[in-house]
């Protein structure tokens, strides 16, 4: 950012809610089926068909709203957003306008400054005002490639038409592209965490638009706003905003003027391009949808949703630090995903050693999981077995070094900790009688060294330990060996 300038950014996110069926009909929301396989008179917009609201979409919308600190309105109204496009079967989208599902959220997120390589340096909290989250239906898709005569025709696939969306709008509260980046990641995680949305930008079930303007530092008024679209990943969005800041500042510094317009990000070219100007903007002619009664949600309904939700990431992060004594970083790693946090708590309980479980999970198991591209919920090592492994180490049955090998084998074979230790014959001998017998043998076989030691050559102690370990084939518990050997030699 050039000195003397400030950027103002607001974000709009569209997240597909993870329902089985569409928001206003019973068609499947499954992705990847034959074009137009998941359609019916309602989502095809046939004459005479009427929408009926999917209750599950309301529940997931409520989860999403609560996870972002929004207040759910007791009554909200669906409205028609009118425009013509082939992927919009009815010629209007059923959305919400002046009485949205939820409003006035205040969200505390963590954001960081980044170095040249985009690595986070210093984390600090940032308060974001979330204006609203409303419910609406997704449109279908126009297909321009891969079918006959695409130079003359376009095709329409309405499988996606009617998939429930939550549109999440913020106030213009971001001052850097990285703040916007951290916010979108926060929202993605929150939506995934509460099961409201898969929130995968690459798959298109989370889409993002940014409103960007620049102004001189100290200026109260907002500059001319540009809307950025086609941001297919959080990184694309961050880059597009950076490009746009530079473009706008350069234009203004060169004495030029900006126009209010919509621009598309072209990642290959690394630039934004005009899509349409304000003059071409649609007049959507919103009006209340007469086919749907107002949506009313009771306080009990909201309370029920709240109770059914998992503890939110921030609260859990705090609790992991307080209850289990984890560091900020460890707690962050282990609350990366809901399944990982759940895994950790089960492992901590099974291990009866929360910090040990945390070390083994994030240091060892997580590396295996990440390398295999598997989530904690699909881990071949169960949390209980990870706990058993930690207990075996804590109890002195095997060494930490052996534990790492055991874990690798548990991961590749899916066997339990006890089985692997047993099969490998790794169990340490901690039995004093057995070790005393070995020590007796070793000392008897090395009479001369024993005399030297007793005469003051204490450096020989390591030699005796080595001999005992060798005789036990490495299974003797070193701690027990040390103690017994010292006692024996000083007799």
């Amino acid at each position: 950012m050039k000195d003397g300038w400030e950027v103002v950014i607001g974000l709009e996110i569209h997240a597909q809610l993870s329902t089985e069926t569409k928001i206003f009909c019973g068609c499947s929301t499954h992705v990847g089926d034959e074009p137009n396989a998941n359609t019916c008179p309602v989502c095809l917009g046939l004459p005479g068909a009427l929408p009926v609201l999917n209750r599950r979409a309301v529940e997931l919308g409520a989860r999403a709203a609560l996870s972002l600190g929004l207040r759910i309105n007791e009554t909200s109204i669906f409205s028609r957003k009118n425009y013509f496009y082939p992927d919009l079967p009815k010629g209007y989208q059923i959305s919400q306008y002046d009485r949205p599902f939820s409003e006035r959220g205040v969200l505390e997120i963590m954001t960081a400054t980044r170095d040249e390589g985009g690595h986070a340096r210093e984390w600090r909290p940032l308060t974001v005002r979330v204006t609203r989250l409303h419910l609406e239906e997704d449109a279908g898709k126009n297909v321009h490639e891969g079918l006959p005569e695409t130079e003359r025709y376009s095709y329409v696939d309405l499988n996606r038409a009617g998939t429930p969306l939550a549109e999440i709008v913020t106030e213009p509260d971001f001052r850097t592209s990285w703040e916007a980046y951290d916010y979108v990641n926060h929202v993605r995680k929150a939506l995934q965490w509460v099961g409201a949305s898969d929130a995968d930008m690459e798959k298109g079930n989370l889409r993002c638009e940014a409103n960007v303007s620049v102004r001189r530092v100290g200026d109260e008024r907002f500059g001319t706003k540009v809307e950025l679209k086609n941001l297919n990943s959080v990184r694309f969005m961050q880059r597009a905003i950076e490009f746009e800041i530079e473009r706008q500042v350069n234009t203004l510094e060169a004495g030029g003027r900006l126009t209010q317009e919509t621009r598309l990000w072209d990642d290959r070219a690394g630039e934004t391009r005009v899509m349409r100007s304000k003059e071409e903007a649609h007049d959507y002619r919103y009006f209340p949808e007469p086919d749907l009664p107002p949506l009313t949600v009771s306080a009990e309904f909201i309370e029920g949703v709240r109770r059914s939700m998992p503890e939110l990431p921030d609260a859990r992060h705090r609790r992991f630090m307080e209850e289990y004594g984890l560091t900020f970083e460890d707690a962050s790693t282990l609350t990366r995903e809901l399944t990982l946090a759940d895994f950790y708590e089960r492992a901590a309980k099974a291990a009866a050693n929360p910090r040990g479980a945390a070390n083994w999970l994030k240091g060892e198991l997580l590396r295996e999981l990440d390398a295999a591209g598997v989530g904690a919920d699909a881990s071949p090592v169960s949390p209980e077995e990870l706990g058993a492994l930690v207990r075996a180490i804590d109890g002195g049955k095997i060494s930490g070094k052996q534990g790492k090998e055991v874990l690798v084998e548990m991961f590749s074979t899916g066997k339990g900790a006890a089985d692997v230790i047993e099969e490998r014959g790794l169990a340490q001998v901690s039995d004093a009688g057995e070790i005393e017998r070995i020590i007796g043998d070793v000392l008897a076989a090395n009479q001369q060294q024993v005399e030297h030691y007793r005469a003051g050559k204490e450096g020989l102690f390591g030699f005796f330990v080595g001999q005992v370990m060798k005789a036990s084939k490495g299974k003797a518990n070193p701690k027990v060996v040390n103690e017994l050997l010292k006692a024996k030699l000083s007799e």
């Binding site: 005479g48 009118n82 010629g91 209007y92 919103y286 007469p290 009664p293």
Partner: protein, 299 residues
């Protein structure tokens, strides 16, 4: 017989003005209408605007006894534009009801005079949106050989829609446009609420309200179709029932000197279909049609 809004499912009904549309019954007799209504009324999970209100046995309630029923007459609406023969026919019907034992009471509907304006704003707004789906993309007529999408839309809709439909789409688009929404659509919705309240307070004093069905006898075939305003004004007595969402029924009450039919309308409170059917039936039994109307084509 136009039922209460939400009484009969609109699923499968091609939408015009969704907040006004209601599937209605035409019958040769009131009993026919009662029987059919009983069969089609009730909640439908495919139409979220249908109500879960019990459906009575309408035909069983047609017992002919209307003694003590209170019929409201809004005389203020019987003024300008009301054809003399229609007025005479309706006045005779009022007398007939008195003879059948009904009590005639004066009622006022102060906002009813705005009903045509309100109706044509709301109906056209909704129609402009409801008719957007006829764009030639998925079904129906599509203009041949367009170079690009907007041209295809424009030609398709220009060829497919008739003059009156285009007029209504343009009106509706206008009243919803940014800058005009508050002055037209929103204002119309507010007046609609006032009209509904007029009826609610009138029904505290009566069981049904009696008016002519139309201000003139039936049009001749083909008459007035190129005078839209005259056509719209003919809805003056009927559109209030649609705006207020209340049930209404029209029964023949004689013929004009040209042999054209004249109708009387009874409207009732929400869900009072049984009441207005009983009232209409009693009149029909006492004054059956003796002559058939003539079918007359415009010159």
């Amino acid at each position: 017989m136009k039922p209460t809004y939400g009484r009969v499912s609109r699923y499968g009904l091609v939408a015009f003005g969704s907040s006004l549309d209601q599937v209605s019954v035409f019958g040769l007799t009131v009993k026919d209408a009662a029987l059919v209504l009983g069969a089609i009324a009730g909640r439908d999970p495919h139409d979220a605007t249908t109500a879960d209100v019990p459906v009575p046995d309408y035909a069983a309630e047609l017992n002919g006894d209307i003694r003590g029923a209170r019929i409201g007459v809004p005389r203020a609406l019987f003024g300008e534009g009301l054809d003399a023969e229609v007025r005479a026919g309706v006045e005779a019907a009022i007398e007939a009801y008195r003879e059948l034992g009904a009590e005639i009471v004066d009622v006022e509907l102060p906002h009813a005079k705005y009903c045509i304006a309100v109706y044509y704003i709301i109906a056209t707004a909704e129609a402009s949106s409801n008719l957007a789906r006829y764009d030639g993309v998925r079904y129906g007529h599509r203009a041949e050989e367009s170079d690009e999408l907007r041209q295809m839309y424009r030609r398709t809709r220009d060829e497919g829609f008739g003059t009156e439909v285009k007029r209504r789409i343009m009106l509706g688009t206008y009243v919803l446009s940014s800058g005009y929404y508050d002055a037209y659509y929103l204002k119309a919705q507010k007046v609609r609420t006032l009209i509904k309240q007029d009826f609610l307070s009138a029904f505290e004093r009566c069981d049904a309200i009696l008016t002519p069905t139309t201000p003139t006898p039936a049009f001749m075939l083909g008459e007035k179709t190129d005078d839209p305003l005259a056509m719209y004004l003919n809805d003056i007595y009927t559109c209030t029932a649609n705006l207020a969402g209340i049930p209404g029924i029209s029964v023949p009450c004689g013929l004009s000197s040209d042999g054209l039919p004249i109708g009387l309308q009874l409207v009732g409170a929400h869900w009072s279909e049984a009441t207005i059917l009983r009232l209409a039936h009693a009149y029909e039994q006492a004054h059956p049609l003796t002559a058939r109307p003539r079918i007359v084509a415009a010159a």
